[in-house]
């Protein structure tokens, strides 16, 4: 299991478009992927889950992956968060 804490840096937070980007990326990996916020874990491959996370700018999210490509999965997803989903 690999985990990393990441901050939502883009101003508008995780709305539909970033949610879609996260899910599309997460679905490329074999590992189980979770986004955890306030002890509330959601499936990173579920757009409904990611959207209802309603993470605004500045909120902290733990990215967790379990599976054969867990390290790569966490790295890539963290990178997507840090890039601000191309909105900065």
């Amino acid at each position: 299991m690999v985990e990393k804490l990441v901050k939502v840096v883009n101003r508008s937070g995780i709305h539909t478009r970033p949610a879609a980007s996260i899910v599309k990326l997460a679905s490329k990996f074999k590992s189980e992927i979770y986004l955890i916020r306030d002890k509330f874990a959601i499936n990173g491959k579920s757009i409904i889950g990611v959207m209802t996370l309603a993470a605004e700018q500045g909120s902290e999210i733990k990215v967790r992956a379990e599976g054969p490509d867990e390290q790569e999965a966490v790295d890539e997803i963290v990178k997507l968060f840090e890039s601000g989903f191309g909105e900065i």
Binding site: A20, K45, G49, M51
Partner: protein, 595 residues
Amino acid sequence: MAPQEVIYGKTDYKLLKEQFVLKGIPSSAGIALGNAIVLQPESLISPSVKIPTEEISNELLKFEKAHTNLVHQFMQSLHKVRSLGSNVIAILETNLLILTDPILYDGIRNKIKDGFSVESAIVSEFDNQRKFFLNASDALLQERANEIDNIKRKLLASLKDQSIDYENCQHSIVVAQTLTTTDIVNFKEAGILAIVTEVGGITSHAAILSRSFDIPAVIGVHDATDIIPNGSELIVDGFAGIVVVKPKEDIREVYLQKIEALEEHKRNLGALAKLPSETLDGKRISLLGNVNFLDDVRSGEINGADGYGLVRSENLVMELKGFPDEETQYKWYREICERAYPKPVTIRVFDLGSDKYVEGLPIKEFNPALGLRGIRFLLSRQDIFKTQLRALLRASMNKNLKIMLPMITSLHEVELSRKILEMCKNELQQEGVLFDNLIPLGVMIETPAAAVISDGLAKVADFFSIGTNDLTQYTLAADRNNELVSDIFDDFHPSVLRLIDFIIKTAHKNGITVSICGELAGHAAATQLLVGMDVDELSVAPSLLLELKNRVRSLTYSEAKLIAEDILNSNDYFEVRKKLEKAIGRHSVAEINEI
């Protein structure tokens, strides 16, 4: 004229043998006569219908088959809309992600395994997820609840194998509770005549799409699927926003004539697309299209646009609900320029203020119209401005792109913008990127300040474009969205007309061109006046181009000049209107307003 009788209250419409009229909101212009295909909304399905254990595996299979079919359908629609631009694709992709969401998918399967019928399982799982969205404090998320509902409905339809038979829709009118973008793409392919829906906003994706497909549509018709019998004859009047069910012979006759006249008119106009835009005595006026979405370029092409005079780049920001990066912008600008090539494209840099909700803009201002908007905002956020200028420069390599600055009130703003533009050019040069080194930088004249100092502005700008909506609002100090002063807001006010005249004269004295891109440019009563005032270009919504060209081609420049001179000498707008009425002939200006 439209039939007046509108029935309210609880009538059992289905029993009515005679004509009745339903009122809705006109959402896409046009008239159609055809038979109704009523898509029944999913009747209430109980979320707790149980099935015997031995049927579970069969029920699971039913679900998987319906699901696979629908995914397939979505993929096909996605394939079909590839050419329609990023906004449509993004909506469909999100729908597809929701449909294939593992939480939903597994949730439904588990429910079935627990012994619930597939319909019950779908309804209860979707409604569970939907609740999350509805309860969200975020208005955007609440909107998503509707999309989830739509997908549920499609899944249930696919299950019943009563998924819409698109092949049989030709020459029919679709009546539905609501339609998704996918539906509309498919219906369009199938050749439907018109659309009637119960819900939907004028600005909803479906409404925008029906307009860009030129399919007449009336939305917001309450209980339409309940009231309109399947197969009954309908007239859909997308101008008036009414639906006539089982029309009487005389009404039918009237509308058939209207349809004939519209088609005749369209045929005649269509022939104009390839003809030059010039007056009877040979004066050329460039007619340009305004662009909100990529599709507008194609629409401009069909309608014979000489170029594109106002690309509202802020639409990209609104669509993405945030500021796009350089690459995203570059791709959009380049796509527009390539589609338009070799015709010129004028892209206005982000014209945003705090009245539009976008992250990164000032939260709320007391008076956004007089606040940090347009160039003021961009100069206060030079990071955003630079990103946009770099993207625009990169898209300019074919040399058919011009940049336009909104909300200018001083020379300083133009000079500063040019300095930033030069900085971007230097950067790109060092990076070895190709761009148009002589890219024209123009100024929108939409404040009285800019109009009055246009002499100075003409020396630092490569062209002018007059935004008549804002120029009118600022000159007359009348908010264009405030109904209480809507009688004061008048773009035919002599003060506005004289400012426009002054701007054009000043520009020509300094050897630069002027275009007009506000509502006035497309106004039927204004064409003669503006041509007489020597405007070089008019930029309007692509759908107005042919009508506009028709007017230009039937007037005489020398006569227009005299009329303009006479009108400019008016002291109040009553005088302007009277003179306009006289000049245009038998039509009153008010009547023309309605065309």
